[in-house]
């Protein structure tokens, strides 16, 4: 199966996504009251998450050079990236350091499929994880209309590519830090949560007012700027040219390569040492 051809692997991925979607729906629908509460609380949390930025934009008629609808666009983009992460990488895939730190990778290693296939599919929650994505897409759509952006097929493709790249940056950032958990399982068990949280908190603000050094830091070491601000500048026409179009997708590729390298190193270490601790908590729940 290692040498499974691309069409066969794609069919397998689709089958797995369908399976996890079914499991997610069954879980959500196990109790009507819980399903309602879950959806409601998810919407409230999403709204609360963007409230601070929106209130600042409202109070000061924008943030720096960004008008109110542009801030809404930025928020919509940021929420959409967050929504994709939640929808596709739940079940402690986004917070992978938990699985590494708790010694739960053995469960994946004993499955007859590549590890990356498990990571790509096991966190798919289209029903319980759709509220944030829906809110993000709605905000993005509303802001696009307000801004009167000409949505051509090429613009839509660029938006999709940037959204995918921003998601890849955030996910890779989590995996990069999570690699530490191979060497320090207890101390780094929650490091993915911290990495994801800091990206989520910072990506909701335009970075124009910051000094060049700080801005560079937020585009490299702590790449919050790559998960909303920089791609939005291009999509809103604030930055033009080939470089502006390519920078976020290229950064996405670079972060994926870095994370894959670090995680592979960690896996090799895990193969040599195993895990001295095991917790059943958070596994398949």
């Amino acid at each position: 199966m290692e040498a499974e051809r691309a069409p066969g692997m794609l069919r397998r991925l689709v089958r797995l996504w369908r399976l996890y979607a079914t499991l997610d729906l069954i879980w959500l629908a196990r109790d009507a009251r819980q399903a309602l509460l879950w959806s409601l609380s998810d919407m409230v949390t999403s709204a609360a998450g963007v409230a601070a930025t929106l209130l600042i934009a409202e109070r000061f008629a924008g943030i720096g050079p960004w008008s109110r609808p542009q801030v809404m666009f930025l928020m919509g983009y940021a929420l959409t990236v967050e929504g994709i992460l939640v929808m596709f990488f739940s079940n402690n895939i986004l917070h992978i350091s938990r699985r590494v730190g708790r010694g739960q990778l053995d469960h994946i290693l004993t499955q007859p499929q590549p590890i990356w296939a498990a990571f790509l599919t096991e966190g798919f929650c289209p029903f319980t994880g759709s509220a944030v994505l829906a809110a993000g897409l709605a905000l993005l759509g509303w802001a696009t209309v307000r801004l009167g952006l000409a949505v051509s097929p090429s613009w839509a493709a660029a938006a999709a590519l940037n959204l995918a790249a921003s998601t890849a940056v955030a996910l890779s950032f989590s995996f990069l830090w999570a690699s530490l958990a191979f060497w320090a399982p207890r101390a780094a068990e929650e490091i993915s949560s911290s990495a994801v949280d800091i990206i989520v908190q910072l990506k909701r603000f335009p970075l124009d007012g910051l000094g060049p050094l700080l801005r560079l830091g937020l585009l490299t070491c702590l790449p919050a700027g790559l998960t909303a601000w920089l791609p939005c500048r291009y999509l809103l026409g604030q930055a033009r040219g080939v470089w502006a179009a390519a920078v976020t997708p290229l950064a996405g590729l670079l972060f994926v390569a870095l994370a894959a390298w670090a995680f592979r190193k960690g896996l090799e270490h895990y193969g040599r040492t195993g895990s001295q601790r095991y917790s059943s908590f958070g596994h398949r729940r």
Partner: protein, 295 residues
């Protein structure tokens, strides 16, 4: 170029072959004294624990092998190595003609693994959902799935809690479901690490009966670890005893009983290290070792 050598092809009927397998864990030692804080940080003492020392072992197709030993003897390390979760430091491992690490994806599709203290069940889903999950992930063909599902449901009595959430099962029910899950893709070898841990007598007996039946009817090779010798004897014809990483015994239970069963070792430590005396004669002392008396 030296080191253990595996046979070029597995001897006919041999499914598991370990040759000179070693595994050492490194444990950092920390002092509790404040004065050692820099030493703890910069140059901590590292203790090496040799979990497996030159372990060589073969298992034939259809055999049931009991793998026994005290805590920390190396049982779980062996099972982890055989289930692709851990690489040996030295030595060769070949199961079903494959290297468990290098051929992981193909290999794990042909074995079944149950760790007594872990579960493969989806916690917040009915038991049935975990079986459907297994069918898709292991890509089990529908006719085979239906056949095996019917078998494990009947033999393990899964019907009574088929639609119950896994987290609401008793330990015995959970273990039965986990065992059924491990068999769903018709593995050729079953590695069971303490599958009866925590089970009551009845649940234990049912579990053992099922493993026996699977071995007899389907020729599944079984390697089972446990502390409970009576339980192992009931199930396996052959026992491999492991002690501090060494294989201390490998053979049938009868021979084990013949060699060790009528003997007990009594260790006597005397305050000044001098051998105890009985009827004016020193009892079996050896230089530098506590005297050992055969009873």
């Amino acid at each position: 170029m030296g080191g253990p050598v595996l046979s070029a092809t597995l001897p006919s009927g041999t499914v598991v072959e370990l040759a000179g397998v070693c595994k050492t864990y490194r444990q950092r030692q920390r002092s509790e004294r404040l004065g050692d804080i820099w030493r703890n940080l910069l140059h901590p003492e590292v203790r090496e624990v040799q979990a497996l020392r030159d372990v060589s072992l073969t298992i034939g197709r259809g055999e049931v092998v009991a793998y026994a030993g005290p805590n920390g003897a190396g049982k779980s390390t062996t099972v982890k190595i055989l289930s692709s979760a851990l690489a040996p430091d030295a030595g060769k491992v070949r199961v079903l003609g494959m290297d468990p690490i290098r051929d992981r994806v193909r290999y794990v599709g042909r074995i079944g693994v149950v760790f007594g203290q872990r579960t493969e069940l989806w916690w917040d889903h009915p038991v049935a959902a975990s079986f459907e999950w297994k069918r898709v992930v292991w890509d089990v063909a529908r006719p085979r799935y239906e056949r095996m599902l019917g078998l494990v449901k009947e033999l393990l009595g899964l019907n009574e809690y088929w639609h119950t959430l896994s987290r609401e099962l008793s330990l015995g029910q959970r273990m039965r479901a986990d065992l059924g899950l491990a068999l769903l893709h018709e593995p050729e070898i079953l590695f069971l690490d303490e599958p009866t841990i925590g089970l009551d007598v009845l649940a234990k007996r049912n579990m053992l009966r099922f493993i026996q039946e699977v071995n007899r009817e389907r020729q599944v090779t079984v390697m089972l670890t446990s502390h409970d010798m009576a339980e192992l004897e009931q199930l396996a014809g052959r026992i491999v005893l492991i002690d501090r990483g060494h294989i201390a015994f490998d053979g049938p239970f009868d021979r084990l009983r013949r060699e060790l069963g009528d003997r007990r070792h009594l260790l006597i430590e005397t305050p000044n290290g001098s051998p105890p005396r009985a009827r004016g004669r020193a009892l079996g002392a050896q230089r530098g070792r506590p005297p050992r008396v055969h009873l």
